[in-house]
């Protein structure tokens, strides 16, 4: 019996390896295909551009990863980003509007309130999902609308201008040793997340909860607390991404979230975070985010209509589901 089991394992590895290698290969092929249509795609400037663009998506996708691993989902990510952007921009501009507002304090307060808004939305999702057992899709569908309402009400539907330049100077234009700030932030987020997922009891707990929630509870894991923290972390990380994006645009945007929910889900799932829970890691998120970014970057450079891009994104989501299915069959 052990022999057959071993053969089994060997077989799994080969298919598993194919499933693993597929994405990097697809990524390269995609790049080449776009480059064939438009040479600028492979220019050094654009490659750096792709890296910077993908660092935002990496952040959002890694947030999404946290909850997908627990068999959850966050549909509110995009609108939470909008709400955070608007509220923190309002606070920064508001506290500078009066006489003698301290710049540092304003930025600090803006960042703090932004993360706070993220935390609130995450807590709403987490409490609904973990303690009231609301289906994660429904819970985050609800908070999607709630955060959308907050974003549009706070800003009255208009962008909040006059975000201090100094803020953008730090989070967008800043660099250390020539590495742009967004990449640094993304790298730091990934490192911290990797540590959490691979080396802490909490991270281990998330994998086991996603793998079998009932069994995790029987084994004594605090499922409800861990799931709630996962949702809070997800939204706080999304809020961090929102602040970085606000720094990039230099204004608080009520529509900043736009396609981010879709893109973050697509990136995480394409990368290999399983919708069945319990599987996925930081590396998966990086690959997935790069793939989605290359896709939209290539389409932009080839001047493909934004609405067409939306259709393509929809197809990519469905493709991600196919991929997920294939991977599940392979293991």
């Amino acid at each position: 019996m052990s022999e057959s089991a071993k053969a089994e394992e060997g077989g799994v590895n080969v298919i598993g390896w194919i499933a693993q290698a597929m994405l990097p290969i697809a990524l390269v092929l995609l790049l080449l295909a776009f480059a064939a249509a438009e040479q600028r795609v492979l220019s050094l400037g654009n490659l750096q551009n792709i890296l910077i663009q993908s660092s935002y998506l990496v952040i959002f996708a890694s947030a999404q990863m946290l909850v997908i691993i627990t068999r959850g989902f966050d549909l509110s990510l995009g609108t939470a980003v909008s709400a955070v952007s608007v509220v923190s921009a309002l606070l920064m501009t508001g506290s500078l509007a009066g006489e003698g507002g301290s710049l540092g304090l304003a930025i600090f307060a803006g960042v703090l309130i932004g993360l706070g808004v993220g935390m609130l939305i995450g807590a709403f999702n987490g409490i609904a999902v973990a303690w009231f057992n609301v289906n994660p899709f429904v819970a985050t569908l609800g908070s999607l609308n709630i955060s959308l309402g907050i974003a549009t009400m706070a800003s009255d539907g208009r962008p909040v201008f006059n975000v201090p330049r100094e803020f953008s100077a730090i989070v967008y234009n800043g660099n250390i040793l020539g590495i742009p700030a967004p990449i640094l932030f993304a790298g730091a987020t990934l490192l911290v997340l990797h540590f959490i997922m691979a080396h802490t009891v909490f991270g281990r707990g998330l994998y086991l909860i996603g793998g079998n929630p009932r069994a995790a509870e029987v084994a004594g894991l605090p499922r409800q607390r861990y799931v709630m923290i996962a949702y809070i972390l997800c939204s706080v990380i999304a809020a961090l991404g929102a602040l970085l994006l606000t720094g990039r645009t230099g204004s608080g945007e009520p529509n900043l979230g736009g396609n981010l929910t879709l893109e973050s889900i697509a990136a995480a799932v394409i990368g290999g975070v399983s919708l069945r829970g319990g599987v996925g890691g930081v590396l998966a998120v990086i690959l997935g985010a790069l793939f989605v970014t290359v896709l939209s970057n290539g389409m932009n450079l080839n001047r493909i209509d934004g609405n067409v891009q939306m259709i393509v994104l929809g197809c990519v989501i469905i493709l991600a589901v196919f991929l997920d299915r294939f991977r599940a069959a392979a293991t």
């Binding site: 989902f73 609904a128 009231f132 057992n133 609301v134 289906n135 899709f137 429904v138 819970a139 569908l141 609800g142 908070s143 999607l144 609308n145 709630i146 959308l148 309402g149 907050i150 549009t152 009400m153 539907g157 396609n259 879709l262 889900i265 799932v269 919708l275 209509d305 609405n307 067409v308 891009q309 939306m310 259709i311 393509v312 994104l313 929809g314 197809c315 990519v316 989501i317 469905i318 991600a320 589901v321 196919f322 997920d324 299915r325």
Partner: protein, 335 residues
């Protein structure tokens, strides 16, 4: 089972109230509230407005319910409405240009094109869910994006005019026997769905597939076909609502339906006790759920609640309704 019958009965009563009784109580309360605070609510025009929006919502929510019964979910209904609206209006405008004043040609072709959109999206949803057994959320999230993109692409965000006057004036905005036409269409659809649910094999199979998929398959129920049919019907009902809304508005718009219709359709079903786990749901209650939500929205409009605030309220209602439903289910399982 002989001890504690009192306890069991009380639990049973609580769960009953939680499941069915909540809706009529909410309805009465909200109407009583309006009677006290806002008399305008009872104006004929306003009542027509409420009935119209109830009709649109009830049609979409009935479709959503069918999908929920097979343990699915459809995020794409709003986008299907948008796509239907633009495609139908474009088709009517184009056919109208080729055959001017030929309403007998223009209108059926337009409606067919609109329903075709529902059929198309519904088939994608259904086939992916039935054959890949993947999360319906993901699939319909994908088609949501695709349909919205298509609608925007077709119109570039500009309303599409050029539908025959007869379609708009004599149908979309008309009254039959003193009531908006939409109300009759919605009633007919609700009756038809009720008949299917309670009197046909297909209806029974939907419950079986959602209630215990394995048991249904073993019993020879063509599960995949039923799942596909549920998604197709859901999208086509959304299309129907899209057609009615477009006829009422007089132009095809890519902004029609959208996020709010999707949200409301799910909320209406969940409030009506349709289980997110599948196997449970009655169309007559869903219609009541739609009525409640429409009254609520109308009341908020009359009371001048900011429309952005309304979105927030809806979000809360959805989550609370789902939490209550889950609570009721847990109780039931413990009895």
């Amino acid at each position: 089972m002989s001890t504690a019958p009192g306890m069991a009965m009380q639990e049973e009563l609580t769960s009953r109230i939680l499941r069915v009784g909540l809706l009529p109580i909410l309805l009465t309360l909200s109407i009583a509230f309006m009677a006290v605070f806002e008399q305008k609510f009872f104006g004929l025009n306003n009542i027509f407005n409420v009935l119209r929006s109830t009709s649109f919502l009830a049609i979409v929510a009935a479709g959503q319910m069918l999908v929920l019964i097979v343990a699915g979910f459809d995020l794409s209904v709003g986008a299907v409405i948008a796509l239907t609206s633009t495609v139908m209006a474009k088709t009517m405008a184009a056919v109208g240009a080729a055959f001017p004043e030929q309403n007998a040609v223009i209108i059926p072709l337009g409606i067919l094109a609109g329903l075709g959109c529902g059929l198309f999206i519904g088939l994608i949803n259904g086939l992916c869910v039935a054959f890949l057994k993947v999360s319906p959320f993901m699939v319909t999230l994908g088609t949501l994006s695709i349909a919205t993109g298509l609608a925007l692409l077709l119109t570039q965000g500009i309303p599409v005019y050029g539908m025959p006057n007869g379609f708009v004036k004599d149908f979309g905005r008309a009254l039959w026997f003193g009531l908006p036409t939409t109300v009759y269409v919605a009633l007919a659809i609700i009756l038809a769905v009720w008949f299917v649910q309670t009197r046909t094999k297909f209806g029974r199979y939907l419950y079986a597939v959602g209630g215990n998929l394995q048991a249904a398959i073993v019993s020879g129920v063509p599960a995949r076909l039923n799942v596909i049919m549920a998604y197709v019907l859901c999208s086509m009902l959304a299309s129907t609502a899209g057609i009615l809304m477009t006829a009422r508005l007089g132009s095809g718009q890519a902004s029609m339906g959208g996020n709010s219709m999707m949200l409301q359709s799910i909320a209406a079903a969940v409030i009506a006790g349709v289980s997110l786990r599948g196997g449970v749901g009655k169309v007559e209650l869903v219609a009541l759920g739609a009525l409640f939500l429409s009254i609520l929205t109308n009341a908020m409009n009359l009371l001048r609640v900011d429309s952005k605030m309304q979105v927030v309220v809806l979000g809360f209602i959805l989550v609370i309704a789902a939490a209550l439903e889950e609570f009721a289910q847990r109780r039931r399982r413990h009895v």
